[in-house]
């Protein structure tokens, strides 16, 4: 049948296909996007300063500001750490001042060797931080209050010390090669402090993101309670976090001491606020659990450049402070709005329909000569296990004639002949079991939506075969995870071919995939020999039923929303090709299975309607429908009125089975032939159907057909 396809204009098709909103939705759901905005801001400010101030970009200036910046970045990282752990450290300024004093005093007055003084100074930072950590972690005091009080106490101690030692401090002059190197040395042109910062930041970033300790810090920051339930010793994690923050702050203070050699009242004063501004601007959440070292450094760079830039244009200091405060409020606001509305924004831009043009629907009117002509052959279908099962999407029959099916609650249920009225829980998998098939050794292989590919042995023992496949590198979202494993079949060499209906929507949102009509499905293959899974083809329009041809040389793949069946060649001259086999079907195809006479059964889960065809050509209509109408009023294939068809190897539809009055089997998603009977499944049915096939081979079983008589 060749039908004329009414195509939409190219521009419209391309516009909806490109779907910038989809790009947007994909991008904002990536966690690295949260660093992109500060990064752009940083590049923007840097470029502006570079252009506006000719002196800014000189090597000398970049060297000197990078030294000064590094001294600021260390405490910013420290505050970032505590923020990620769900707390805050307001005492960094005072720790900074104390360490500044200590290291100068140790070298300049006590005459300790430089390296020893530096180690002791870092240890001092660690000890002061540990006091905070002890209180917050083990005594469970609140971080804001604790570190605020700590700030006041440490600052007072600092003031007391500087008062008593002011004369000694005023004349300290350290002439030591190591100390001078730290102060003014260069490593590859960068000040020692900047070089140290780079190395430190990379290491700390990796520790925080990729180690157990780092994950624990973030876990405690996200939810202390959940972390505790997960067995994390959160007091210890918090203790270590604050202790670490103290040491990191100390690093900054040591470089400061080396460069300026000065202890003054205002040393480190207000540093906590600047550092806090930095990390918030960098995108570390005040709510805890979210942030990286890179973001802390980025935020520090932004705040530093803003201050530097504003100071250099000669703005009085109080204005600079005010503008910085304003920037922080903006950043905090943005952080809160982002957290609150990100989900909504993704949801609003989640579905991105495209133009999909169907040819005119094949005739199914009763009395027509078409093999699809509406009939009532399912009128006398028996109902098995009526009311004992909920949603048998697929059914499979073993050699003893027992029926297996998955149900909505994630279990595999077995019914035994002759009455099929006793419900037996065969296995509990979870998820939503869909396609079922027996392998050569009579293990049940199951596609579970939301989980992946599973195997259940004859004793009912469940084993996961795979839950991920090779990702599509053109996709922004990592789609390696199987989202909706749907149906499967096994090739003679044992490889399991299965469909992943959509990689964008979960089972309960499968209707969205239909609205999109974009093709988010995949054909995958799992090789039991290597235990590896590979994506053969993506972009399939709701990849659904899978069936191996009788000769085992090709696989049929149903593409539900496209009303189409494809054929993937495993062998022969077309090996590796995926061709269109049946096109412009009257209904939306679901499962496909072998018939005893060398042909194939296929279920139409629903029939196309003219309205559905039109709506598929108008993405805007579908989008408005999605946003303005409840789900049950959407234009959709008529899912309550399906049928069974039989087709042969040449692609001819031979006959059809209808339930005209929609009483017995209004919805058909699957059928299995077994010893002269055809067993029927339906995604939303409360029964398994059975009809007799008097003309069929009364001894035919799928097992024999696949694996030979045994």
């Amino acid at each position: 049948m060749t039908a004329h396809i009414e195509q939409a204009p190219l521009v419209r098709r391309v516009f909806w296909r490109l779907a910038p909103t989809r790009l947007f939705a994909d991008l904002i759901s990536k966690s690295w996007m949260e660093s992109v905005i500060p990064f752009v801001l940083f590049v923007g400010i840097f470029t502006y300063l570079y252009i506006a101030n000719p002196a800014f970009g000189t090597i000398g200036n970049l060297q000197s500001i990078s030294a000064s910046f590094s001294e600021f970045a260390f405490p910013a990282i420290a505050v970032g750490l505590t923020l990620i752990s769900g707390g805050i450290d307001l005492s960094v300024g005072a720790i900074f001042a104390l360490v500044d004093f200590a290291v100068l005093f140790m070298i300049g007055v006590w005459g300790l060797p430089t390296w020893l003084a530096i180690l002791l100074a870092i240890a001092l930072g660690g000890v002061i931080g540990a006091i905070n950590g002890f209180l917050i972690g083990f005594m469970k005091t609140r971080p804001v209050l604790t570190t605020l009080v700590a700030l006041i106490i440490y600052r007072s101690i600092f003031n007391l010390i500087t008062l008593n030692y002011s004369e000694e401090l005023a004349v300290i002059y350290i002439e030591d090669p190591t100390w001078n190197f730290i102060a003014t040395g260069r490593i590859l042109g960068a000040p020692v402090s900047a070089a140290t910062l780079v190395i430190f930041a990379v290491v700390a970033h990796v520790i925080l993101r990729n180690t157990k300790l780092g994950w624990r810090v973030a876990a405690v920051g996200s939810s202390k309670k959940a972390a505790r339930h997960a067995g994390i010793n959160y007091p210890l994690v918090l203790f270590l976090t604050y202790c670490g923050a103290g040491m990191v702050t100390a690093l900054g203070a040591i470089f400061y001491a080396a460069r300026l050699g000065s202890v003054a009242g205002p040393t480190g004063q207000g540093l906590e606020i600047q550092a806090l501004s930095a990390v918030v601007v960098g995108g570390i959440s005040l709510a805890g659990g979210r942030g990286t070292v890179a973001r802390a450094v980025l935020g520090a760079a932004i705040v530093f450049l803003i201050q530097n830039g504003l100071t250099n244009i000669g703005l009085p200091g109080y204005f600079t402070a005010g503008i910085l405060g304003f920037v922080v409020i903006l950043a905090v606001g943005a952080d809160i709005r982002w957290e609150k509305n990100k989900g909504k924004a993704i949801e609003k831009t989640l579905v991105n329909p495209i133009v999909f043009s169907f040819a005119s629907t094949p005739d199914t009117s009763p009395g027509s000569q078409s093999p699809l002509a509406l009939n009532d052959r399912l009128k006398d279908a028996e109902g098995l296990a009526v009311g004992l099962i909920e949603g048998p999407e697929d059914v499979v029959v073993d050699r003893l004639g027992r029926i297996y099916t998955g149900e909505r609650q994630g279990r595999i249920i077995r019914f035994s002949p002759p009455y099929f009225n006793e419900r037996e829980v065969f296995a509990r998998i979870g998820g939503r079991p869909l396609g079922l098939v027996f392998d050569k050794d009579e293990n049940l292989i199951v596609c579970v939506a939301g989980m992946g590919l599973f195997q259940v042995d004859q004793q009912g023992k469940v084993e996961k075969l795979t839950d991920r496949t090779t990702r599509n590198w053109l996709s922004i979202l990592d789609n390696s995870r199987l989202r909706m494993a749907d149906d499967l079949d096994i090739a003679p060499d044992g490889k399991i071919y299965f469909s992943d209906a959509t990689d964008r929507f979960d089972l309960h949102d499968w209707t969205y995939d239909s609205l999109e009509g974009r093709g988010n499905g995949r054909l995958c293959v799992y090789d039991p020999a290597t235990k590896k899974t590979r994506t053969i083809s993506h972009g399939l329009n709701f990849a659904n039923g899978i069936c191996l041809a009788h000769d085992g040389r090709s696989v049929f793949v149903a593409e539900t929303w496209a009303a189409r069946v494809r054929r993937y060649w495993l062998e022969g001259p077309k090996k590796g090709k995926l061709e269109v086999f049946l096109d412009n079907l009257a209904g939306v195809p679901d499962n496909i299975n072998r018939a005893s006479d060398g042909t194939y059964w296929m279920a139409f889960a629903g029939m196309r309607s003219p309205m559905y065809d039109i709506s598929m050509r108008h993405p805007g209509v579908r989008l408005r429908m999605l946003k303005q109408l409840p789900r049950d009023e959407w234009l959709f294939p008529s899912m309550n009125h399906g049928c069974l068809v039989k087709f042969d190897e040449s692609g001819r539809i031979l006959e059809s089975y209808w339930d005209k009055k929609a009483e017995k089997h209004p919805m058909l998603t699957s059928m299995r032939e077994h010893k002269g009977y055809l067993y029927l499944g339906g995604l939303e049915n409360n029964r398994i159907g059975r009809i007799q096939l008097p003309d069929a081979d009364q001894n035919w079983t799928a097992h024999d057909s696949y694996w030979g008589k045994s």
């Binding site: 000064s68 001294e71 005023a170 300026l260 000065s262 202890v263 003054a264 004063q269 100071t311 200091g317």
Partner: protein, 337 residues
């Protein structure tokens, strides 16, 4: 060397000697119009970079106001960047200045250590540096400002006059600033000669913080109700001492409060109403003018090829003793000019 110092004293006129030793006529013979042009041409377009401690101090903003006004007349580009009392920002600004190579750096040191290394760098880079009012451990081309040790001596001498055998107290500003250290040293130098006077307190107000001064003074006055005098180090801070005395039920004059500073309006007001006994005024408006003159001098000497950095000169600006009897219009500046 001696010759160079000599030349410095001789100033601008002397520079002509170096300029043209081969001329038949001595180069000092210059017509007035030419001389005026020479001064103007030398100064015009010069870049002077000013690093104050914080523009939010009235003293500093008064200097800045005067300098801006004067330098504008000379056609000097006057760059002001405000670290707002943040040492780290101050050092950043100074680094930036050094990179930008202005014709002269004008530095207000928050303490003796902070900028010392950077000032050395600036000097090595050939930039003339003038330090104002507070001196660094590293001495540069010139220092100009009040002799802060002398301020302390003056305060203490007045106290010695008034409080024989009695208790006195001293309020310190920032303990690491040379200014505060110097005043303290001056006070102690004089008091050492008068062991009959007991210095009962020398606490700090924090960072020139009036609130801190108020708290400290309140405690000291409570502990020593018979306190005879209180020596301060900066007018707004010392005004808080007067307030604390008032709050403790003292009448003006019960405790003789000494103050020093550049002429903040509050000092004149408190002198008039008797809350301050004596004010040692280093007259910041005048100081600003003196800074300008020194900058003009150094710029012209440099232009003439004189190595001013080698001289490391110092100029102490005059201190005026202001009391209720001697107070005159103009002893204090007006804020927000």
């Amino acid at each position: 060397m001696r010759k160079i110092i000599g030349l410095l004293i001789a100033g601008v006129i002397g520079s002509a000697v170096l300029a043209g030793p081969g001329n038949a006529q001595s180069p000092g013979w210059i017509k007035s119009a030419e001389f005026e042009k020479q001064i103007q041409d030398t100064l015009k377009g010069k870049k002077v970079a000013w690093l104050p401690e914080s523009l939010s101090f009235s003293l500093v903003s008064e200097w800045t106001r005067v300098m801006k006004e004067q330098f504008e007349k000379d056609g000097i580009e006057f760059i002001v960047r405000d670290p707002n009392a943040d040492p780290q920002r101050g050092s950043e600004i100074l680094s930036a200045y050094i990179n930008e190579k202005p014709d002269l750096l004008l530095i207000h040191n928050p303490n003796v250590q902070l900028y010392a290394r950077q000032l050395e760098q600036a000097t090595q880079a050939g930039i003339p540096v003038v330090q104002v009012n507070m001196v660094s451990n590293f001495k540069t081309d010139a220092f100009i400002g009040v002799n802060s040790v002398e301020l302390g001596r003056l305060e203490a001498r007045r106290v010695v006059e008034l409080c024989k055998g009695k208790k006195v107290a001293l309020m310190k500003g920032s303990v690491t600033s040379s200014y505060s250290l110097d005043i303290t040293a001056g006070v102690k130098e004089v008091l050492a000669e008068h062991p009959d006077i007991e210095l009962v307190s020398e606490q700090t107000a924090g960072l020139w913080d009036p609130k801190g001064a108020y708290d400290v003074a309140t405690t000291v006055i409570q502990q020593h109700p018979d306190l005879c005098a209180y020596m301060g180090q900066w007018e707004p801070m010392d005004a808080a001492i007067a307030k604390a005395a008032e709050a403790a039920g003292k009448k003006p004059g019960d405790i003789k409060i000494m103050t020093v500073g550049g002429g903040d309006p509050i000092a004149c007001e408190y002198i008039k109403n008797g809350m301050f006994d004596t004010f040692f005024d280093y007259q910041s408006t005048l100081q600003g003018q003196e800074y300008v003159d020194l900058v003009r001098t150094v710029l012209q000497q440099r232009a003439a090829g004189i190595d001013t950095a080698a001289a490391r000169i110092g100029i102490f600006t005059p201190i005026k003793r202001v009391t209720k009897e001697t107070i005159a219009e103009g002893d204090c500046y007006k804020t927000n000019q």
